[in-house]
């Protein structure tokens, strides 16, 4: 059950005061002063408008902000509208903000949120990302209703993505989760999500979440845990996901490393499930997505394509240890071919799976395996954007669908290889 040592005496006192709730909104923060107030307001408005009779609490787990984020969360008010008699909502939404003293990283914050949800017997838990500037009050019912009506135990978001938005998700994570876990989940990295108390309790029972202090990776681990342990998934349309620009984000190599590590950890942890999982099932979806938002000028990827050609040649001796002869031959051929770069779906699927198996077998230092994959990922991204960068949503959808199918076709062989190792 809940790990009580996560909770300080002061927090426990606040929890005593709050008591049983129906809905818990968790917001893990670290220096989000510029954006967190709108997120809290949206959450409060969402609860007030769509669940006026529900007992609710907004719980903020802060990992040591020095820009006053916790105070902002505590003091954020909603706009006062209406007549004298309508000046207060039916129920008071409680608000708790507390620092947590575990390892830094989103994993510890989520663990604390789940522990509080467990103690307060919350029927539905929603986790919001404090960095997102496009949060709407409507996100709350979208993420909560499927849980409260017992249609699903984990509710993943659906974002309207431009074609160049999130290739790490669209080209790698999405088709991989589809093939391996057998669910057509659009967003395996759930920045926001809703879940049931049963799922929260299940995660709390796991001694360590994906082996230690995971940061972005814990989202993926959570997805894997849900899918591998029979928690019914659903997804709900939220709209565009715009992040605050001022934030300093880690560079691509670090992000890629973390994501690939997370993927590998998940595949190790859930091997018993995905090795025998059959073809992918569709995930029920609620709501309709508005049109995708272009995030700015479409990036020019010709430079990326050129870099890919050079990098494949340079890394050839390393790649020879990771990839099979056939796959490496295909990659080298693609890099050497004249004209626009074409990195086919089949080739990319084989690349990804073989890299993961090499990681699993530790044919060399594991970090080297993932870092060697990075130029190939960039090449694949460049290839995809060169081909579909100006296409309409329907064409892009079909292209991504065929990518997913390619991954599914590559899976049986990959599973066999994995078992041999």
């Amino acid at each position: 059950m809940a790990d009580e040592s996560l909770l300080s005496d002061d927090l426990l006192r606040q929890l005593v005061a709050v008591g049983h709730v129906d809905i818990l909104v968790g917001i893990p923060t670290l220096n989000n002063a510029t954006t967190v107030v709108e997120v809290v307001r949206a959450a409060q408005a969402g609860i007030g408008k769509y669940f006026p009779r529900a007992r609710s609490v907004i719980f903020n787990a802060d990992s040591g902000s020095d820009d006053g984020t916790p105070a902002l969360v505590r003091d954020a008010t909603t706009d006062d509208t209406g007549t004298v008699t309508a000046s207060r909502p039916l129920r008071t939404t409680q608000r708790i903000t507390t620092p947590y003293h575990g390892l830094p990283g989103k994993g510890s914050a989520l663990r604390m949120i789940f522990a509080v949800a467990d103690l307060l017997s919350a029927d539905a838990v929603v986790v919001l990302d404090p960095d997102v500037t496009s949060v709407e009050p409507e996100w709350i019912p979208a993420l909560v209703r499927p849980v409260l009506s017992s249609e699903a135990e984990i509710v993943a978001p659906l974002y309207s993505r431009a074609v160049s938005d999130g290739p790490l998700v669209t080209q790698l994570l999405r088709p991989l989760v589809r093939a391996a876990y057998g669910w057509r989940l659009q967003e395996p990295l759930m920045g926001e999500f809703g879940c049931s108390r049963r799922f929260a309790g299940h995660c709390l029972d796991r001694p360590s979440w994906g082996g230690g202090a995971m940061s972005d990776g814990v989202d993926l681990w959570m997805t894997g845990e849900a899918l591998a342990n029979g928690f019914r998934p659903s997804q709900t349309a939220l709209g565009p996901r715009l992040l605050a620009h001022a934030r300093k984000r880690p560079g691509l190599p670090d992000v890629f490393q973390q994501v690939m590590e997370a993927v590998s950890v998940c595949l190790e942890a859930h091997a018993g499930y995905w090795l025998t999982r059959g073809p992918a099932e569709p995930v029920p979806c609620t709501g309709a997505l508005p049109g995708a938002v272009e995030l700015g000028a479409r990036p020019d990827v010709t430079g990326m394509a050129e870099a890919f050609r050079r990098d494949v040649v340079a890394l050839h001796p390393v790649l020879a240890t990771i990839l099979s002869k056939a796959t490496l031959g295909g990659v080298s051929a693609a890099a050497a071919a004249p004209g626009p770069l074409v990195y086919s779906d089949e080739l990319w699927a084989a690349t990804v799976f073989e890299s993961l198996i090499a990681y699993h077998r530790a044919v060399m230092t594991r970090e080297h395996v993932t870092q060697s994959l990075l130029p190939l990922y960039l090449g694949r991204t460049a290839s995809f954007l060169l081909q579909y960068g100006s296409s309409g949503p329907a064409v892009v959808y079909d292209a991504l669908e065929s990518l997913g199918q390619a991954f599914e076709r590559a899976k049986p062989q990959a599973a066999a290889q994995w078992k041999k190792a």
């Binding site: 160049s164 938005d165 999130g166 290739p167 790490l168 998700v169 990295l189 972005d216 992040l243 560079g251 691509l252 190599p253 992000v255 890629f256 994501v259 995030l295 990036p299 020019d300 990827v301 430079g303 990326m304 870099a307 990098d311 340079a314 890394l315 001796p317 390393v318 240890t321 530790a362 044919v363 060399m364 230092t365 080297h368 870092q371 060697s372 990075l374 130029p375 960039l378």
Partner: protein, 233 residues
Amino acid sequence: MTQLVADAVRQASVNFVDTAAMLLPRILITASVVAVGWVIAWALKWAVRWILLWLGFNHGCDRIGVGTVLKTADLPPADTLVGMIVFWLVWVGFLLSGVDVLGFTALEGMVRSFALFVPRLLVAIVILVLGVVCANFAWRATLIAAVNARIPSPRVVSGAVRALVLILAGAMALDQIALARTIVLTAFAIAFGAVMLGLAIAFGVGGGGIARRILDHWFPEHPSTEREEFRHL
């Protein structure tokens, strides 16, 4: 005169027979020591190989790159190699004890200096092996990092790193067995210095851009490459 010769011969043959009679048991003992030693060494070799296989030693060696080196050098796999080393170490030990029994002082002197030399040789071999491992690791790490940091000519850079490490290890090994010390030392100093000087000149004169890029990679202010321009997640 004939009598003198005959007496001398008789005396010499008596001496010889005496010495032979004295030596024969020793030879027999030496032979048995050597034979028993061989059996023990052989048994130990197989025991060590079995233990190493059970521990996955080959797999570990593959990981750090030694396995590949052995393959390219047409050497047997790592566990067999270790087994062989163990075998020879043990059997040579028994051989030396056997020789000791014989009691040839001249031979003893040779054996002693050989016995002093063997540990240094072993250490040198270890240094070389470690050096090769480190060189491979450094080569791969540098290659991948250079590729991802968009440093030009990544192969050249990583090759240079590997060469440097190998040179260092080789020099240390040769120094360990005290082989042509002064020559090796001087040659190493010249080679290492030349490589470093060359790198410094290349870096300082022609490599401003590279330097800037390396620094940008280590201390990024904003995404300067197009791959950072869009949101990957």
